[in-house]
């Protein structure tokens, strides 16, 4: 364990007290969230424990190919998870896969080229995981909104097509709103960081006994990298996915009812 912190399994188990309180509140208020909470606790325990061992293996081996395989798997799961939020969008899988890959490749590539992090498993695994997770959330929210925009705005979109506008011109106001939806949460949390909440990396470093200034610097890098990743992911996913709503003849596949 790191010198500043030593966590036993008993202490981890003790933190379940709070989950027990949450479950009690859910039962008392008939919110019926007990099952969901139980599944969430179980999944987080199994998934994190498993990934902990996998990461340990990758760190011990040091192979960048293993890092790439782990990140590719994360992108795959991220795509599937985001797809379930984009059920109103026709054929969202490929746009999501490209968006997550583009976000991960650009941001990780950039921090390596700029020399912010060295190309080692110790940096690439946690940073890559955070980047892909945030990119997934951003594109899932953006495509979810895009689906709603096309469902509710079909009349306006077709009225614009009727003027001889291209599919892109007709979709543009809706693309903008979707892009905004996908990135606004991260922009807001970046704005309020340090005032309302302390981000995870910084907290982790402080708990592990790091110098606060170092912790802050690393956190700033991560915040800005994540902001870029979210924007790239939302932009690429919406820019590719909107085409699925239109035919080659610039018609809506699912026109508004007459």
């Amino acid at each position: 364990m790191t010198p500043g912190i030593d966590v036993t399994l008993g202490e981890v188990a003790a933190s379940l007290t709070l989950v027990a309180i949450a479950i009690a509140i859910s039962r008392w208020s008939s919110a019926e969230l007990e099952g969901e909470m139980g599944i969430a606790v179980l999944r987080s325990f199994v998934q994190l424990t498993a990934i902990g061992y996998v990461i340990q293996l990758i760190f011990d081996d040091g192979s960048l190919w293993l890092v790439a395989a782990l990140l590719a798997t994360s992108i795959g799961f991220g795509t599937l998870t985001a797809r379930s939020r984009a059920h109103k969008v026709p054929r969202p899988t490929l746009p999501l896969l490209i968006a997550l890959t583009a976000a991960a490749a650009t941001t990780i590539g950039l921090v390596l080229v700029l020399g912010i992090f060295e190309a080692s498993a110790r940096y690439l695994v946690p940073v890559g995981g955070m980047v892909i997770g945030n990119a997934m959330t951003a594109s899932a929210v953006a495509l979810n909104r895009l689906g709603d925009e096309f469902a509710q705005g079909a009349g306006e979109i077709e009225a614009t097509l009727a003027l001889g506008a291209t599919a892109r011109q007709a979709a543009l106001p809706h693309l903008r709103r979707s892009l905004r939806s996908g990135t606004i949460a991260l922009i807001d949390s970046t704005k309020t960081t340090g005032l309302i909440f302390f981000p995870g990396t910084m907290v982790g470093m402080l708990l592990a006994g790091a110098d606060p200034v170092d912790a802050v610097r690393l956190q700033l890098i991560l915040l800005w990298v994540l902001l870029g990743a979210a924007a790239i992911s939302a932009l690429v996913s919406t820019a590719l996915a909107y085409r699925g709503f239109f035919t080659d003849a610039q018609q809506l596949r699912d026109p508004p009812p007459p």
Binding site: G155, E156, A159, L161, A162, G164, P173, Q251
Partner: protein, 219 residues
């Protein structure tokens, strides 16, 4: 003939909305008349390729519309939908958007005038307009393309009788003053008679008759 439809079939959600639709639409002011759900709005959407038929042919001035570039066709044959759907911003923004698409220099005052709106309306935000004003703004925006044909889908269905008469007067004036043909969809036979010289009657996805308004409405 301005438009000819031959053996047009179009299904939607497993239902045949048009089932062997044949008709001719003449230049000038024509009307597609029929009850709600008869398929007349669907015909209108086929005329500027907002949809393509599953079978059959739609011809505009003798050419299959599928051989035309859809964007060019829609700027020449412009559809104004039943429900006003303007872009966010002012009426002038909407007119400028359409004029840019057709690479025209819009005369805002003249366009507003043709649509029966005072020139002062140009700066009005579309969210502050009544339904009738929005309908007129849609008309002004369509005219900014300088189309050869206007397709008007139930242009007065959402209006009170006073506003309806005013829009009808505007449509009649447009046909007289501008070199533009108008195809009007309406469920109102009387309105078709007041405005159109050529009428196609639409019933259950088929054309039940077509001809000069006076002759057809006597039968």
């Amino acid at each position: 003939m301005l438009f000819e439809l031959e053996g047009v079939v179009l299904a939607r959600g497993g239902r045949r909305v048009l089932d062997g639709f044949d008709c001719r639409i003449r230049a000038g002011v024509s009307a597609l008349v029929g009850p709600s759900g008869s398929g007349k709005s669907t015909v209108l959407r086929l005329l500027d390729r907002l949809s393509d038929p599953d079978a059959g042919t739609v011809r505009y001035r003798g050419t299959d519309v599928r051989l035309r570039d859809p964007l060019e066709l829609r700027r020449e044959v412009c559809l104004v939908p039943q429900l006003p759907a303007l872009l966010a911003g002012t009426i002038a923004d909407n007119i400028a958007f359409a004029a840019d698409l057709a690479e025209r220099q819009p005369d805002h005052d003249a366009l507003l005038g043709h649509a029966g709106l005072d020139p002062a309306y140009g700066g009005r935000d579309v969210s502050q307009l009544s339904v009738g004003e929005k309908q007129r703004a849609m008309l002004a925006r369509a005219l900014a393309l300088e189309p050869r044909v206007l397709l008007l889908d139930e242009p007065t269905s959402a209006l009170d009788p006073g506003a309806r008469s005013a829009i009808e007067a505007t449509i009649a004036r447009l046909a007289d003053e501008l070199d533009v043909s108008i195809v009007l969809v309406t469920h109102d036979l009387e309105q078709a008679r007041r405005l159109a010289a050529w009428i196609v009657r639409v019933e259950a996805g088929r054309a039940a008759g077509e001809g000069e308004a006076e002759e057809l409405l006597l039968t």
